[in-house]
């Protein structure tokens, strides 16, 4: 399978040389054509930073990509000029964000905003533009698109705004959609609709998707391949079913265990991973998960475990992966 995007050994630091710290370390992700890649992890573990690096939207300063390559269609995005990147953004790679309502400019109608993005990348007259916008609004299941065209963002619900954002992201038929927690700010019922929409669009248009979330429910529904991140590193990656059926990293196991089980009424408390995610200034030496890990051994404090193949299409970064068997 051909990879549309390959992130190779990406590291990102925040701050200057003296008191800077690394927030993303040595992350490699490959996105095959037409597949949905899920990135999961707790808040603050570097998911969004990784995603923003792909289209170089990191706030620089203070954030800086210190090493790595991002290969998109045989071009290293990190070496492109700003103008070349601008032509890729929105056209070949699109992104949707966590807060749909604040991601739309309050002073323009949604029709104008979608139309503007179309105009940025295509030569098109006003009439065609309007038709295309309405077609897109239909595509993302917004009822009564002709009237919604002239609505302002504050007149629409969060779910509707996220649909508008998706319509904007899709207006140039991108090859890759980066969805950064697209449903976090939405109701659960709306969430299902959005996820279904992304899934349908993927099948119809054939684009690849990077889906960032902390919700295993969403990931299990649509992701083909899952990357689990912890403290700026990828700790496990596997095909969807493999990860859920046979997790090989203590952190993944902890995350999966902390999903509440409806059938388990005897247990009054949620299972959780003890402790908090360490802040990037003082990540522990060795394996960054060692202070919260139940399976910690001396070696974990001394050296960093690398991602290693545990079975076909399954990698884990733990010295004791072999012993884990659920």
């Amino acid at each position: 399978m051909e990879n549309i995007l390959e992130i190779k050994n990406l590291s990102v630091s925040i701050g200057d040389k003296q008191n800077g710290f690394e927030v993303v370390s040595d992350v490699s992700i490959s996105v095959p054509k037409g597949k949905v890649i899920g990135i999961v992890g707790e808040s603050g573990c570097g998911k969004t930073i990784t995603a923003l690096s792909v289209i170089k939207l990191l706030p620089d300063p203070p954030a800086k990509i210190t090493s790595g390559e991002i290969i998109f269609k045989n071009r290293n995005l990190l070496e492109l000029s700003d103008e070349q990147l601008r032509l890729i953004r929105g056209n070949e790679i699109s992104m949707i964000f966590q807060e749909p309502v604040s991601s739309l400019n309050p002073v323009f109608t949604i029709g104008e905003q979608i139309g503007e993005t179309i105009r940025t990348h295509n030569k098109i007259n006003r009439k065609e533009e309007r038709d295309r916008v309405i077609e897109l609004l239909k595509l993302v299941d917004i009822p009564d698109p002709e009237r919604r065209y002239s609505n302002y963002p504050h007149e629409m619900s969060g779910g509707m705004c996220q649909r508008v954002m998706i319509a904007m992201a899709l207006c140039c038929n991108p090859d890759l959609l980066i969805a950064d927690e697209p449903t976090t700010a939405l109701d659960v019922t709306v969430e299902a609709g959005i996820i279904e929409l992304i899934n349908n669009l993927r099948n119809e248009i054939g684009m690849s998707v990077i889906l960032i979330t902390h919700d295993f429910g969403i990931i299990s529904e649509i992701a083909d391949e899952i990357y689990v991140m912890y403290a700026g590193r990828i700790v496990e990656n596997a095909k969807n079913e493999l990860l859920f059926n046979n997790p090989k990293h203590p952190y993944t196991i902890g995350l999966l265990n902390s999903i509440p089980d409806l059938n388990d009424i005897k247990n009054k408390y949620l299972k959780m991973i003890p402790g908090n995610i360490p802040s990037p200034q003082n990540y522990p030496k060795g394996c960054r998960f060692n202070d919260r890990c139940e399976m910690m051994i001396d070696k974990c404090k001394r050296s960093v475990p690398l991602l290693e193949k545990v079975e076909n299409e399954h990698e884990s970064a733990c010295f004791r992966s072999g012993e884990i068997n659920l």
Partner: protein, 331 residues
């Protein structure tokens, strides 16, 4: 579903609640009409005249056929034309009339005459155009400089911001009025030079407001989203950030217009203003210096006009500020 109400319509609804501001806006609108139609309101040339079976409007156009016609004697014009309408104020703003020097207001000269016999009302009507256009053009220049510099400083931040911000601060430390006097002392005091000088010295307030808002708005989600969708810097700055940052600047601009009119009057009063015989309110006022002990009409009328206009612009600015700031609403 209701018709979509945009931001500005909401602001207008809120603005209308303050009756004094609405009145002030009405007054400014009337002044605009006066400024635009000054030739129809005051002057020696007829608005419409029928002469040798042709209809002419010498007040508005320079008709070729009428070149050489002397409009100074209105009785003669009446004699040669079959039909004629003169402006309500039948005196030119610039023509001297030594037979009626310093005459107090009467049925011929409603606002009296100055020391060269020029009709004060006519001079004030023509001065409206000068004073208002100085106010608007000066603030327009300040607006363009302020938005460009403030926008660049706020949007790019960092070192660019540092350099431009120091420039603001240097500008602010100058006592502006004396700077203007100094510049005008070296340049001929034409109306355009006054506009440029007032504009080039009055942009700091606007620039600082714009910079602050750009600094804030550039980090908003919808700007990141626009960048992710491939919008370029110019587009983000002027299409996406500017409309969201414009409201407080428009308030500052209305105050700026009032300030520019006032400064122009002060300059004219000191003799640095528009060159004579061009009429402006400050110029009429400065005529009164020598005769202030008895010629009250030379003081009261232009003074009142300046006062009312400046107050109106300030009231409009205040009305908009209240309407734009949700915290001040409903008081």
């Amino acid at each position: 579903m209701n018709e979509s109400t945009g931001y500005w319509r909401g602001v207008w609804t809120e603005y209308k609640r303050d009756k004094l501001s609405v009145l002030a806006m009405f007054l400014i609108f009337s002044l605009f009409l006066v400024a635009v139609f000054d030739d129809l309101l005051a002057g020696k040339k007829p608005i419409i005249m029928k002469y040798q079976n042709n209809i002419y409007s010498p007040a508005v156009f320079n008709h070729k056929k009428l070149i050489g016609m002397d409009f100074s004697d209105q009785d003669e014009i009446k004699d040669i034309s079959s039909f004629v309408i003169f402006p309500p104020v039948k005196y030119s703003a610039t023509e001297n009339d030594l037979f009626s020097v310093l005459s107090p207001p009467d049925k011929n000269h409603y606002f009296g005459t100055d020391d060269r016999g020029r009709d004060v009302l006519s001079r004030m009507i023509h001065g409206t155009k000068i004073s208002l256009s100085i106010g608007f053009v000066a603030v327009g220049i300040a607006f363009i400089i302020g938005i460009t510099l403030g926008g660049i400083a706020g949007y790019y931040g960092g070192r660019t911001d540092f350099v431009i911000s120091r420039l603001f601060e240097i500008m602010i430390t100058f006592p502006v009025f004396f700077l203007i006097l100094t510049i005008l002392a070296f340049r001929d005091p034409s109306i355009y030079n006054i506009m440029i000088v007032l504009g080039a010295t009055g942009w700091t307030g606007i620039a600082r407001l714009i910079r602050g808002d750009f600094l804030k708005i550039r980090n908003y989600d919808y700007i990141t989203a626009q960048r992710a969708l491939g919008a370029n810097d110019i587009r983000i700055m002027f299409v996406h950030i500017l409309p969201n940052a414009l409201a407080p600047v428009l308030v500052a601009a209305t105050f700026g217009i009032a300030g520019a009119i006032l400064t122009e009057s002060a300059l004219s009063f000191l003799g640095f203003g528009v060159p004579p015989p061009t009429p402006s309110w400050g110029d009429v006022l400065s005529q009164s210096k020598k005769y202030i002990d008895f010629a009250w009409w030379l003081v009261i009328f232009p003074g009142l006009a300046i006062f009312l206009t400046v107050t109106s612009f300030n009231l409009v600015g205040e009305g908009f500020r209240n309407a734009l700031d949700p915290k001040l609403r409903g008081r």
